[in-house]
């Protein structure tokens, strides 16, 4: 079983940059353009890895260390998920908290790296990133708490139910298949959180050219070479992480077939991101709160519905 899990993890690590390519291709297709090659992110990563770095003399240790930390926490968070429906060998009671806080650690380091440069633009990005992710945090955990209470109700013990491997391992999909349709709102909540946490349209525009309107991209303006490659790759892994959350809720437990279905759902999520990006404009910053509030209200609604049953 561990072998299959490791295979899934390897696939995640290999295929994650492809997601960015898919998103771009879908956007280009809808806009009637040809678009970048599907493997563009891989070319970018390879090119960046061969380069040297340009660093500002203002920067200190955090600027140099943050990308490495960003990568390791993304891999660790991914390894806590039941990839492909297989329980993670690292699972333990409360591992969802570790996964979320590991991503938080990466964000903390990246915010400090941005402040390390002493640039007003990067400070601006850091401040926005800190704000929106702080607001997204309770929504994520509210959605998780719906799942934990569902599994406690289904008769699981606490040490089983408080683990990502059970919550996203196929049993949740079994629950909505057996008639708890309110749970189908949860993948939507996680998809909205994906858009926030990965700085996609309508929260942030990764391809915008005006620094004043950016959130994530403006934080990493000064990074270059291998460090930028690390950040780019970690970002792709984070996207895979959040897409896996959606997949974990939608794919029922089918043994080996669910591994294939997982990857299919993850690619579908990438297509959905592309569709959203092609059909929507970026929201004004003031409206992002409303967007987050909507996601929070949805999570609270599912919680109330499923507890009232």
């Amino acid at each position: 079983m561990i072998g299959i899990y490791l295979l899934n993890l390897l696939l995640a690590l290999l295929l994650a940059p492809l997601l960015l390519g898919i998103i771009n291709r879908v956007k280009a297709w809808i806009a009637g353009r040809h678009g970048k090659p599907l493997l563009q992110t891989y070319y970018d990563l390879a090119k960046l890895c061969q380069k040297s770095e340009v660093i500002s003399p203002t920067c200190g240790l955090f600027f140099r260390l943050a990308p490495a930390l960003q990568l390791t926490v993304a891999v660790a968070a991914l390894a806590l998920l039941p990839l492909g429906g297989q329980a993670s060998p690292l699972r333990f009671t409360g591992d969802f908290l570790l996964a979320a806080y590991l991503l938080g650690l990466g964000r903390f380091a990246l915010i400090l790296a941005a402040l390390d440069t002493g640039s007003s633009f990067e400070g601006m990005g850091a401040s926005r990133e800190a704000t929106f992710s702080a607001l997204a945090e309770p929504i994520f955990f509210l959605a998780i708490s719906v799942l934990t209470s569902l599994h406690l109700d289904l008769g699981q013990t606490q040490d089983q139910a408080f683990s990502l491997s059970l919550l996203f391992g196929g049993q949740s999909a079994g629950a909505w298949l057996s008639g708890k349709y309110e749970l189908l709102l949860l993948p939507v909540v996680f998809f909205l959180l994906l858009l926030v946490e990965n700085c996609r349209i309508p929260v942030d525009d990764p391809t915008t050219h005006l620094e004043l309107t950016m959130i994530h991209e403006v934080m990493i303006l000064d990074h270059s070479g291998p460090n930028l490659a690390l950040i780019l790759y970690a970002q792709a892994l984070k996207l895979w992480f959040f897409a896996s959350l959606v997949a974990g809720l939608l794919v029922p437990d089918l043994g080996l077939a669910s591994s294939l279905l997982w990857i299919a759902v993850i690619f579908l999520v990438a297509c959905a991101i592309g569709l959203v990006e092609a059909s929507m404009a970026r929201l004004p910053l003031k409206r992002v709160t409303t967007f987050l509030g909507g996601a929070g209200a949805m999570a609270a609604l599912v919680l109330i519905f499923s507890q009232m049953r």
Partner: protein, 673 residues
């Protein structure tokens, strides 16, 4: 053995407190100041080390007691060390030690004509003595005496820079708040005495109290001890006292003294519930109080620009989180849920130990920033990591730990508390489930905001470029100045990696105190939380190793290619300087836009209206609204009332004698009728 070591520690504090009165009474000179500093340090070191020996040499759950052959008026001199007392004594002795060393290092440079170091160390030692007695006293008279020593000593410690009127004001606020709390405690103990007829703590165990008197005792204790712990709305002394006090004192007050309030609440509740389950509303009340305190604390902290005031509000927040743990434990106990009970209680105590470690670190580090630059205003700092890299690294560890980020100790407490609250969904009633799950989400929101807060605090103080001359002309300082802080930083990391050990320590220490073992789910909670923390610790080790490996690989690759240094990219703008950097107000602006009314931020802007504007001013402030809008009017009302009553108090002796005569005659008539 334990008890004799503990008594020796208290004796050493008392003896050195007496000894430092000699240099305190001498004429201020360089020698007397040096002597006082040395005596204070030696006294604290010897006492704290003896105390730590007493705590470490025997298992935490073992009990030791001592009764002096002489009594106090109305009471007896009884000291007992049990698990709970020991657990709360760890921060007292540990932080007492490191704060004293850091204080010694920084007080060396004070001018003897300005400060009387002898009296400073006298009250420092008295504070430690008072704390030691409070945490071990088992007689209510002795407890009250010790409480009073512990409450009075900080007044003189906070008032160190008494030349500044704001410092004097802050210490008065502290004194008033401490004594308003003491009024509730006095009422609590009088009622206790009346109900039990004895002064021993344990007397209450033999009685079966009625529901209403139990609840009255509980409410009085919550008020009295809550004022010390800084529960909202009784927190207002913290943000005044901590910025005013010298930093090693703030660290000790925040890391060890406010815990005494929590200790009081836990002790009272455990005594009142030893004969049965607590009423359910106790737990809900404590949980709500903790949640409100934590939310208010973090939101106010986000609006601050003074680092020490920010840390003070953050202490309020952390005290709220601990209280949430206790509330969850009580709910679990009253509804028979062992998982919630043990996890909540352990989370409360683990967070207490963790908070002592990282808050001590942060206050001491903030103090060093103050020493080096002369200010702790974030708008004037920046770039200190280059001048003091060692201090910066320690502060970064403290920030990550207090923002509950792995692999540091804050995360362990957060994990246990989150799992305790999350088990609320296995309760029977839907409204209970919803309330607990919502407070779980609120807890996560609090730590998300804490991440933003501490990213700001560290980033603006230590990173970027110096924002003013204060931060620019700082001498390079090596590790010799900061090593006590680094020990605390190491403690944060080790307590994170070995969190399983800390968890079992807290679990054992309360096992004799609280009859939780009989509840369903107790054993499973203990086993699976222990397992979680062990696994998380192992993952942390791999994570650290992997990060260092990736970093090392990048460094090796770049070593061959060479790094080019170019100024920070300012999007094409060439004339950038340090003043265009983000400030504390601009960093929290997006949050203030959303939560501004809750944060209580006042923004005042004045702009030159001319076509070519010359100057402008933007002021962002966040004063404590409770103090301004509630306590201020309340106390000025009382003052007006007292002034009105002055017509009776005029200093004319013959009229005073007339009052006495009238009273006597009145009493006589009352006696006859």
């Amino acid at each position: 053995m334990t008890m004799s070591l503990f008594l020796t520690a208290l004796g050493l504090f008392a003896a050195f407190a007496l000894l430092v009165t000699i240099p305190a009474l001498l004429r201020p000179s360089k020698q007397s100041a040096h002597l006082a500093n040395l005596l204070g340090l030696v006294g604290t070191l010897s006492g704290s080390l003896t105390g730590l020996c007493a705590l470490f040499l025997t298992p935490v759950a073992s009990q030791a007691s001592f009764q002096a052959p002489f009594g106090l008026p109305f009471g007896s001199f009884t000291l007992v060390l049990d698990g709970l007392s020991r657990l709360f004594l760890f921060p007292v002795f540990g932080l007492g030690l490191f704060c004293a060393i850091q204080g010694f290092l920084s007080l060396r440079h004070e001018r003897p004509s300005q400060h009387n170091l002898g009296s400073h160390w006298l009250f420092y030692l008295l504070l430690l003595l008072g704390l030691g007695l409070v945490l071990s006293a088992r007689d209510i008279v002795l407890f009250l005496v010790a409480w009073e020593i512990m409450s009075l000593a900080p007044f003189f410690l906070i008032d160190f820079n008494d030349g500044d009127s704001r410092v004097r004001d802050a210490s008065w606020v502290y004194l008033v708040a401490a004594h308003l709390g003491a009024v509730a405690l006095l009422a609590f103990f009088v009622l206790f005495w009346q109900l039990t007829g004895a002064t021993a703590w344990q007397a209450v165990q033999k009685l079966t109290l009625s529901e209403s008197s139990r609840s009255l005792l509980f409410l009085l204790a919550l008020l009295g001890f809550g004022a010390k712990a800084g529960l909202a709305p009784m927190h207002i002394w913290l943000p005044e006292a901590h910025p005013a006090a010298p930093s090693h004192v703030s660290a000790l007050l925040s890391g060890a003294m406010i815990n005494a309030g929590l200790y009081g609440i836990i002790r009272t509740v455990s005594l009142l519930t030893c004969n049965g389950r607590p009423p359910e509303w106790w737990g809900w009340l404590i949980l709500a109080a903790g949640l409100c305190t934590a939310l208010m604390g973090i939101l106010k902290a986000l609006a601050q620009s003074n680092v020490k005031r920010l840390l003070a509000y953050s202490s309020v927040e952390n005290m709220g989180i601990m209280t949430m743990g206790l509330g969850c434990a009580l709910i679990g106990q009253s509804l028979g849920n062992g998982w919630m009970a043990i996890a909540g209680l352990c989370a409360c105590l683990m967070h207490m130990l963790n908070h002592a470690c990282f808050k001590g670190l942060l206050f001491l580090a903030a103090g060093e920033v103050l020493h080096a630059t002369g200010t702790v205003n974030m708008a004037q700092l920046g770039g200190l990591a280059k001048k003091m890299p060692f201090l910066a690294a320690c502060f970064a560890v403290g920030c990550a730990a207090i923002a509950c980020l792995p692999p540091f100790n804050g995360f362990a407490g957060e994990l246990v508390l989150a799992l305790a609250l999350l088990d609320g969904s296995s309760l029977a009633a839907t409204e209970h489930q919803l309330l607990l799950l919502l407070s779980f989400a609120a807890l996560c929101a609090i730590s998300g905001l804490a991440l933003a807060l501490y990213a700001k605090a560290y980033g603006l103080v230590f990173l970027g470029q110096p924002r003013s001359g204060f931060a620019e002309n700082v001498p390079q300082k090596s590790w010799q100045h900061f090593w006590p802080i680094s020990v605390l930083a190491l403690g944060c990391l080790l307590m994170g990696l070995l969190a399983a050990f800390v968890f079992s320590l807290t679990c054992e220490s309360v096992s004799s105190l609280w009859p939780l073992q009989t509840l369903t789910g107790y054993a499973k909670a203990k086993a699976s939380l222990l397992d979680s923390l062990t696994k998380a610790g192992a993952i942390f080790v791999f994570l650290l190793a992997a990060t260092l490996a990736v970093y090392g690989l990048r460094k090796r690759v770049l070593h061959k290619r060479g790094i080019r240094f170019m100024p920070t990219w300012a999007c094409g703008y060439q004339g950038g300087n340090a003043r265009i950097q983000y400030t504390d107000a601009s960093f929290s602006e997006p949050l203030a836009r959303i939560l501004g009314p809750l944060m209580g931020q006042n923004v005042s802007q004045s702009q030159d209206k001319a076509i070519f504007p010359q100057s402008g001013q933007l002021l962002v402030k966040a004063p404590d609204r409770l103090r301004r809008k509630v306590y201020g009017p309340l106390f000025s009302g009382i003052e007006t009332l007292c002034n009105a009553l002055k017509i009776f108090q005029h200093g004319k002796i013959h009229l005073y004698i007339l009052y006495i005569l009238v009273t006597v005659v009145g009493l006589l008539i009352w006696g006859l009728v």
